[in-house]
Symmetry: C2
Subunit: 306 residues, 2 copies
Amino acid sequence: MSLLVVGSVAFDAIETPFGKTDKIIGGAATYISLSSSYFNKKVNLVAVVGGDFPKTDIEMLQKHGVNTEGLQIKENEKSFFWSGKYHNDMNSRDTLITELNVLGSFDPIIPESYQNCDYLMLGNLAPSVQRTVIERMKKRPKLIVMDTMNFWMDIAWDDLMKTISMVDVLSINDEEARLLSKEYSLVKAAKKIMAMGPKILIIKKGEHGALLFNQKQVFFAPALPLEEVFDPTGAGDTFAGGFIGYIAKTGDISFQNMKRAIIYGSAMASFCVEKFGTERIMNLSEKELDERVQDFVDLVQFEVNI
Amino acid sequence: MSLLVVGSVAFDAIETPFGKTDKIIGGAATYISLSSSYFNKKVNLVAVVGGDFPKTDIEMLQKHGVNTEGLQIKENEKSFFWSGKYHNDMNSRDTLITELNVLGSFDPIIPESYQNCDYLMLGNLAPSVQRTVIERMKKRPKLIVMDTMNFWMDIAWDDLMKTISMVDVLSINDEEARLLSKEYSLVKAAKKIMAMGPKILIIKKGEHGALLFNQKQVFFAPALPLEEVFDPTGAGDTFAGGFIGYIAKTGDISFQNMKRAIIYGSAMASFCVEKFGTERIMNLSEKELDERVQDFVDLVQFEVNI
């Protein structure tokens, strides 16, 4: 079924202990769209770039089946640009440059042809912009998934609360869950956050996997233990893209199916970190994906006779 | 089948954000013995205490089926004493007091009746003492599991290497694995450590679960997400006790069965942290344990059609 993805499409410049890149394609919606395209070929993108954004990158998205009708191109402006440097442990990074550019005045216009999308994935953006998207949908999607970050908790709390109250699934990392709930225990944090609106909460723990909560159940998806994490940029968005892509493909929003979706999201994220930027997730085969999902099965499956 | 447990039996005084205890029973071999007693009633203890150690605590161990014939009581000396204070996040602690006392001159004498033990669990002790135990076994046990800690990596490297080379399974935490291997990636660390001798490596990650490696496979057991961690003292030893206890009960040292053993160990550890010291794992019912293992099944099991 059809999926609407809203978020940044941007330039990233990344430095890790393994090397550095010039400006390459990045942005939450880029990773989400690419990742979800492995499951579902009805990916509709709403985003904004400047005149400096290469046509070849837009064509690359299109080749993956991403509908770019909703991608606004502001010819006389510059694309959003982020530059960061990862520390040796790959778990922390310094932001070197953030240039909002076109993103500063982003007005998310939803093309008429997107209006009946069944699934909505809100990549990290100002919560007021995310809310505008929800308000502009004439028919409420079957499932709205929202990603956000600590930045908005610091500077736009009330806006964030309003938007969070309107979504079905919130996806944040452990640090953000603690900040949002003011609870250290993630179980307590999850209860408080679900009381803010979302029926489902995903807490991403990076190399320690991810937790999926509803009011009654909890599911844990591990991260695949890897020899080398080459570049973590976009891993969270790739995870979200795999999650919503799998759900849009199957059209099943049961908790049972969300467990599978989380595993597919984790598999996609495990590819993402193997190379710089989107490089690895631009070129995946179905066979590779199946084998990777089997690695997750082997990693956690056991049998007990209770 | 019969199990030999060697390690400290001691006094602990614990302070957490939830309260503090006076001197209570602690020590690696106490937690290991108690935990393994839920699976296997042939637990043979080798340890040393001072004349200050309460008879009631020894009787408590005996009531759990622990054979204390190998528990030396040095009437005119004092028991090993450790005191620590946990920080608010429960992930780090300060050691306030360490009094080695009887442990400083511990000579691990193996009673004749213990000589045919099938399984040997070496709780954290000086690696030279652990090695003495192995050397004093007339028949090599079917499986030797060793726990150790960063302290010995700092002050007794050569001794540690010698002992590690003699065991089948090494159990350490993530920080210790990195210290021992000089690798940040746990996958790389595991390869290096298994090259030191052990065919199996367990890397404990506290609230982030545990990894089980052999040369070809890796298995991940999550920690149960808990509302409250009351006191983490002894959780690692309780985990090890559940692991070796389950293996001794089943008599099966296949990787497949070790996966189950790790889950049982994780279940035991999840009980341990619910109350101070050994309080919770002194009073567990079979039903509680079965329900907890089912919680682990529910937490990670999923079905995919690849």
